[in-house]
Amino acid sequence: MKNIIILLTIILMFTCKLVLAEDFSLTFANKYSMNGSVETPLGILKALTIKGVYTDSRGHKGVINCIATSGKNLDFVCDAKDEDGDMNYSSGRRVGNGGEAIFTGGTGKYANITSKCEYQIASFSKDILVGLITMQCSTN
């Protein structure tokens, strides 16, 4: 009997997690600007600002603003404002053509909402510094 209760509890917790987790995707159009660089023992570290626009599969869209450093990896911190003026905050790291990001709350509908995301560079031009980014996220 005890084992059945434990099993039912585990199944219930797993089901609740699946129900409460919301998957969504985003697409970004980003313009990158180089703001300077320094030499480090690990190589050249560049400072970047990234500005762009996005849409997501939940029907939201808006503008995104990031600061980043690019060396062996690209590390970034961003804020984004959607069509309602609500802000969300994110940070992440890119290695090569893909990376991971985390949304860490915000204002309005994004308050206290955290999400984990994976993203890919669908297309990028080094000459014009414009990128097309696709991202898949899960909110818990």
Partner: protein
């Protein structure tokens, strides 16, 4: 009998046309530059330079460059270079957030390829002049 033959001919042409046209979607990330603007009786008339990147559902990606004008209607002449260096020429016309594009051949795999797209401005920032464009296209590329 003559009418039946005409009907079969038209139906066959339509079927062949559908069979040889391929539908796909694409997404563009674009950065706009206003080169010059003049006031006219119908409002401001702007010169535009547009550059960006794209990817499509057929697995192609590349860069796009356009020059054009914008008044009440936006008209742009573009070329897209894909990952193989092949170029596709197209013209775009947009009113508001909805537009249409027409392919006018190109080089390599796009030589003699015709077709077109419907497109939408999914997101645009007037301050940074960056836009995200979604397209639904059909062309004769095999």
């Amino acid at each position: 009998m003559k009418k039946l033959l005409i009907f079969i001919t038209i139906f066959s042409l339509f079927t062949i046309s559908v069979a040889f046209s391929e539908e796909y979607t694409a997404t563009n990330a674009l950065s706009y530059t206003i080169t010059k603007s003049v006031d006219t009786a119908d409002g401001p008339f702007m010169g535009l330079s547009v550059e960006g990147v794209w990817s499509d559902s057929r697995g192609n990606s590349g860069t796009i460059h356009c020059v054009g004008t914008r008044a009440k209607t936006l008209v742009a002449y573009c070329n897209s270079v894909d990952q193989d260096g092949d170029i596709q020429y197209n013209t775009a016309t947009r009113v508001g957030t909805e537009g249409k594009g027409i392919f006018n051949g190109g080089t390599g795999k796009y030589e003699n390829v015709t077709g077109g797209c419907s497109y939408q401005v999914a997101a645009f920032d007037k301050n940074t002049l960056i836009g995200l464009i979604t397209l639904q296209c059909s062309d004769s590329l095999n």
